[in-house]
Structure formats: structure tokens, C-alpha cells
């Protein structure tokens, strides 16, 4: 998918590279990623040209409804898609300039854990129930760092301490089911940090947790991210979380990034009707007692994406052009971009 750059003020088009490569080569870059699921019921186009990048020391939040392709993008980056049914049909994933999609399986394995690590949503099912938490952390250190059993144990306990698990020594030998939900997610984070990754992908790390615990886990994640100067991809549908920790945002809809850019600036002035609708559906204390705003309708079926802009059936601003032409991603300056035919009008409103 061609990315055209639109300079809001002058109306001239600028080549896209100037926007993305502003600060040198990004740590992790996804470009035009296309993934489809081939099932008996037909081909679902799950990703239709996803592009985003993460720099060192930066948190990028990937926002979107369920089924918008946030997790599939993450799994494609990690190389842990289930093939079949999932097939990567186009695009590229670059880690420090190295193309991962065409790399050998052995090279990709080396990047996992050490280059890019991942935290999963439900730590209870993501941790192996029949091994102790300590074993699951230490096995990476033994296999990849060549540590002895005692060294690996010591390092694993240190990791558990870093994620603020009380009595880390004692908990080293316990099984995942003996941990509380929050502690289990902390253990999962400790595990992902074992090999000092440069990029951490957190796939809805707080969704399965209590609200009070959610805040603690988010604080821990952003603290660790800052301390280690990691790049972090935070996949979430919680706009509150995003506002607190994200430097940049990428909003996904039907397997596309519909808007991306600096978090503050997007919150202040969203440039896509979908982002506007998302922000309006946030509960607000000053509107207590009123009905919550929702986005009418359902996300499109990925086996049958409507022609034109995939958001058009649910969009308040939809015109004829939206039903026939897919809007291209347009750069708005300051690293922002949006894929809407009317983004110019949206940005010029006061």
C-alpha cells in the first residue's frame, strides 16, 4: 500500500520516508504487513498493510477493537503465527534493519527472547502448569546464556525481585497456579526480561486482572521499560492505560492502521473518525448519569470487508467516496498520519 504524505497547511504531497526515518533507523519496523487466514469458510484478510515502528526507549500503544489484528501483528513479528491457517502474504518486519520474515528459522529463534520478547494476556494459560515458575525462567538462562543450574537460579530470583515479587527465593519453586493473578503476570514479565530484550511486546498485559492490580502492573511495565530503555509495543483496548504510558499511538481497524502519531497530539485532536468515536466512548466523570457513547454497528467480517473505507458503514462522516475508494494513509506532519478522505477537514477544525 502506497503511503502518500499530505502536508496539512500547503496541500502538497511529500515522500513518506522523510516522516518515518526522522530519527535514524527504528529498532523495530513493520511495513505493509499482510496476513490472511485460510479457513474452510474462506479467506479472512486479517492484516491489510499494517505499518508501525518502535524506537528504543519508546512505548507505542496499538489500539483497536477485538479482531482488529493487533495480536496477529504481534504474533507475526514474533514468528509464532499458527501456519496454517495463518499465512503472511506481504510486507516486511525489520528488527534493527534486519528482515525477519525471510530470515532462517534458527535466526528467528535467536531473535525471540533476546531481541524481541513477548508478554501474553492470560498468564495462567501462558505459563506451563506442570513446571515451577523458577524452572520456566531459568531454562532460558541455561539454554541461551550457558549458565549453570545454580547461576540460573540466582539470576532468576533476581529477575523475580526486579518485578517486585515478595519472597522471590521461596516463590522460585512454586507452580503458576500457586500465584495470584497479579503475581503470575509479574512472573510472566520476569520471564520475558530474562534475556534482556531490546523490544518488549505486551499483548493486553492487564486485561485478565483486577482494576487495582492493572494499575500496578502498568506502573511496573513502564518503570522497567524506562530503566532498560527498551522499545515497548503495548497492545490494548484500554484508552485510559494508553494516555498514561504511551509515547505514540497506532489505532487499528480491520487489519489496518487508521491513525498513528504522538499520543498527546492524537488525544488533543484525533484525525480519524474512528479515533474520535473511540475517545467519545470513554466513560467520563463529568458526564456521570448520562448514557455512554458507543460506536454503532459491528466491525466488518474479515472474510468480506466492505469496498472503500472499511469503517464507512459505521462512520458518521461517510460520503459517497468512502464507499468506493480506500483512503490512503496520509502524513499530517509531526510524525502523524491518518487514513481518512476527510482528515484534512478534521485537522482544520478548532
Amino acid at each position: 500500500m502506497a503511503e502518500t504524505v499530505y502536508d496539512g497547511s500547503s496541500g502538497e504531497f511529500v515522500p513518506p520516508e522523510e516522516v518515518t526515518a526522522a530519527g535514524g533507523e527504528p529498532l523495530l519496523q513493520v511495513l505493509g504487513l499482510q496476513v490472511e487466514f485460510r479457513t474452510r469458510d474462506g479467506v479472512a484478510k486479517v492484516l491489510n498493510g499494517v505499518s508501525y515502528h518502535v524506537n528504543a526507549g519508546e512505548t507505542v500503544a496499538v489500539l483497536g477493537e477485538s479482531g482488529s489484528g493487533k495480536s496477529v501483528t504481534a504474533q507475526t513479528i514474533m514468528g509464532i503465527l499458527d501456519t496454517p491457517p495463518a499465512f503472511v502474504t506481504g510486507g516486511s518486519v525489520k528488527f534493527k534493519g534486519e528482515e525477519l520474515l525471510t530470515a532462517t528459522p534458527e535466526r528467528r529463534r535467536k531473535v525471540r527472547g533476546e531481541g524481541i520478547a513477548m508478554i501474553f494476556q492470560d498468564a495462567l494459560s501462558a505459563l506451563n502448569p506442570v513446571f515451577t515458575v523458577g524452572f520456566q525462567i531459568a531454562e532460558q538462562l541455561r539454554g541461551r546464556r550457558g549458565m549453570s543450574k545454580a547461576e540460573a537460579k540466582k539470576a532468576a530470583i533476581e529477575l523475580l525481585e526486579q518485578v517486585k515479587i515478595p519472597n522471590a527465593k521461596g516463590r522460585f519453586g512454586e507452580y503458576p497456579h500457586q500465584f495470584s493473578g497479579g503475581m503470575r503476570q509479574r512472573a510472566m514479565i520476569a520471564m520475558s526480561l530474562a534475556l534482556d530484550p531490546e523490544v518488549l511486546i505486551a499483548d493486553e498485559p492487564t486485561t485478565a486482572l483486577d482494576v487495582t492490580v492493572q494499575a500496578q502492573i502498568m506502573d511496573l511495565l513502564s518503570e522497567i521499560q524506562r530503566e532498560r530503555n527498551m522499545g515497548m509495543v503495548l497492545i490494548t483496548h484500554d484508552l485510559g492505560v494508553v494516555a498514561e504510558v504511551a509515547d505514540r499511538i497506532a489505532v487499528m481497524y480491520a487489519g489496518r492502521i487508521v491513525e498513528s502519531g504522538d499520543a498527546r497530539s492524537i488525544y488533543a485532536k484525533p484525525g480519524h473518525p474512528y479515533t474520535i468515536a473511540l475517545l467519545e466512548s470513554l466513560p467520563r466523570l463529568d458526564l456521570k448519569g448520562q448514557q455512554l457513547n458507543t460506536i454503532k454497528g459491528l466491525p466488518p467480517s474479515l472474510t468480506n470487508i466492505p469496498p472503500g473505507c472499511p469503517f464507512n458503514p459505521r462512520c458518521r462522516m461517510a460520503q459517497d467516496i468512502c464507499r468506493t475508494e480506500v483512503p490512503e494513509s496520509v502524513a499530517l506532519g509531526d510524525g502523524r498520519s491518518s487514513a481518512c478522505h476527510f482528515t484534512g477537514e478534521l485537522m482544520q477544525r478548532v
Binding site: 529463534r109 527472547g113 520478547a117 505459563l127 506451563n128 502448569p129 531454562e139 539454554g143 507452580y175
Partner: protein, 301 residues
């Protein structure tokens, strides 16, 4: 854990009395004269019959007979056959052979079954998968005596009386063949189910080598139901295999029971079956405990 084991052991007591009483009652309830044909062509002399009836307490009522039998059993005396051979001697001669046969069968079904199950579970619908599915279906449908006779002829096996380890491999394969087919299918299903589990995906995402993902993370979880099955099966194998031992003319516990049922040797049958019941009960306890060891989420309080 300790309390659980104790409770399970206490449960063995009523089961023990129940099963032994039923066996005892059934063996002596067979409406045939146990002394018919014991003295060649002529009927046995009345003195002999009277003496035997007294020796085996056959004139008492059934309950008293049973209690007297138990009394002897608890002092370690399994009783004698009508011809005066100690039942314990018979068991001591036959049981080692059966145990050897059972262990060989267990090893064969575990090793071949699990390997076939893992390979096919990882690649469903491949050539190997179809081969294993068809061959296991074949084994499951064939009666053991058919498998037994075919392999006996094919490999020209004859097992000497002492039944050394090596000579029992083909009979062990026959005895284990049915369970081997079940183990292969059970492992295949279990592997295929867990292959897409979240914890396997995590193991891959951690950058572990493929061998370790499959050999440690996937296998360790998938093998839990299989080990339980193997444990129960060992309990059954220890009970001897009348058909397999018959086909290969092996003088194990299965053969011993078979001959003595035919000869109305109630004391032998009761003694052997009591022992087998105990072995089976203990094996099922071991399986339950093993389950807790394999799956730490299960704790017996």
C-alpha cells in the same frame, strides 16, 4: 498426601474382604464334585472323600469355611492343592514369569506407542499419521489369539519353561499390542490438543529450540493421561494373560488360574485371585499418586 494414602489403604480393607469372599463363594459354588475323576476310572473311596472334606472344611457352612480360610491366609498360608502341593510354591514359580512378561509388554507399548503418538500428533493427516491410524485400528480389531498365533508362526517362537527375558519379547509384544494401539492413539490426541496451547506458544516465544518445546513443554503435559493409562494397564498385565500364555505355552499366572479352574482346585484359584486383586488395588493407588506427581495442580488433601 500422607493422610490421603492412609485413607486409600484403609479403603483396601473392605474391598479385600468383599472380593475374596465373592471369589471363595463362587469357586466352591460350582455344582461339580471336586473329587470326581480324582481316583482314575473308579469313584474315589468314601474314606478318601471324607478325609478331604474334613481337610478342606467342606462340611462347614460357607461363611465358616471362608473365615477358616482367611485365618490361614493371614498367617501366610495359602493352603495346599488336593494333591498336597503348597499354593504359595505354585505362585512363587509362576509369578516371576508373569511379571517379566508384563514388564516387557509395558515397555513395548509405552515406547512404541508414545513415539508413534508424538510423531503423528505433531503431523496430523500425513502419511505416517494414516499408517499409524490404520495399523492401530488393525491391532485393536484383531483378537489376541490371532495376533499371537500369527507372530508365533512368523518368528517360530518357542518359550522354554524357565522363560528367560529375551524369549519373552514376541509374547510380550502380543500381550502389549492392544494397549500399544490405545497408547499411540491417546498420545496422538493429547499431543494434537496441547500443540496449540498457550504455554507451547509461550515456550516458542521464549526462543527455546524446537526439540525442547516439544520434548519438554509439550510432551510433559501430553503424557499425563498416557501414564495413567499405562499404570492401570500394568495392574491388568500383572494379572497374567490367559490367552497369550496359552498360545506360547508359558507357565505363568494366567495358565495357573486356567488349569486350576478346570480342575476345581478352589484353594489355588482363590489364593491366586486374591493376590491379583491386591496387586491391582495397589497399582491403582500408585497410579493416583503418580497423577498428583505429574500434575502439580492436583493435590490430595
Amino acid at each position: 498426601m500422607g493422610r490421603y494414602v492412609l485413607r486409600r489403604l484403609l479403603q483396601l480393607i473392605p474391598v479385600f474382604f468383599g472380593t475374596t469372599f465373592i471369589i471363595y463363594a463362587l469357586v466352591w459354588a460350582i455344582p461339580v464334585d471336586p473329587f470326581a475323576g480324582k481316583c482314575g476310572q473308579r469313584p474315589c473311596p468314601p474314606e478318601y472323600v471324607a478325609k478331604m472334606r474334613a481337610d478342606f472344611n467342606l462340611d462347614d457352612n460357607l461363611l465358616v469355611q471362608y473365615i477358616k480360610y482367611l485365618g490361614k491366609l493371614f498367617t501366610g498360608n495359602f493352603g495346599q492343592t488336593f494333591s498336597g502341593v503348597d499354593v504359595s510354591t505354585l505362585i512363587a514359580n509362576a509369578y516371576p514369569i508373569t511379571i517379566r512378561l508384563a514388564i516387557i509388554a509395558l515397555i513395548i507399548e509405552a515406547v512404541i506407542g508414545i513415539i508413534a503418538g508424538v510423531l503423528t500428533g505433531l503431523r496430523k493427516n500425513g502419511f505416517l499419521d494414516n499408517l499409524v491410524l490404520i495399523s492401530t485400528l488393525f491391532l485393536i480389531s484383531l483378537p489376541v489369539f490371532v495376533t499371537g498365533f500369527v507372530l508365533k508362526l512368523l518368528f517360530n517362537v518357542s518359550v522354554p519353561n524357565s522363560a528367560p527375558f529375551f524369549d519373552l519379547i514376541v509374547p510380550g509384544f502380543v500381550l502389549g499390542s492392544l494397549s500399544m494401539a490405545y497408547v499411540a492413539r491417546l498420545t496422538r490426541t493429547s499431543i494434537a490438543e496441547n500443540r496449540r496451547a498457550d504455554f507451547v506458544r509461550t515456550a516458542i516465544a521464549k526462543g527455546l529450540p524446537g526439540k525442547r518445546v516439544v520434548g519438554v513443554h509439550l510432551l510433559r503435559n501430553s503424557v499425563i493421561p498416557v501414564v495413567t493409562f499405562l499404570g492401570t494397564d500394568l495392574g491388568a498385565l500383572m494379572g497374567g494373560a490367559i490367552v497369550t500364555e496359552g498360545v506360547f505355552n508359558i507357565h505363568g499366572i494366567g495358565g495357573l488360574v486356567f488349569i486350576n479352574i478346570q480342575q476345581q482346585q478352589g484353594v489355588v484359584v482363590t489364593g491366586v485371585v486374591t493376590l491379583l486383586v491386591l496387586v491391582y488395588l495397589v497399582m491403582s493407588l500408585v497410579v493416583d499418586l503418580l497423577y498428583a506427581v505429574l500434575d502439580p495442580r492436583i493435590r490430595y488433601e
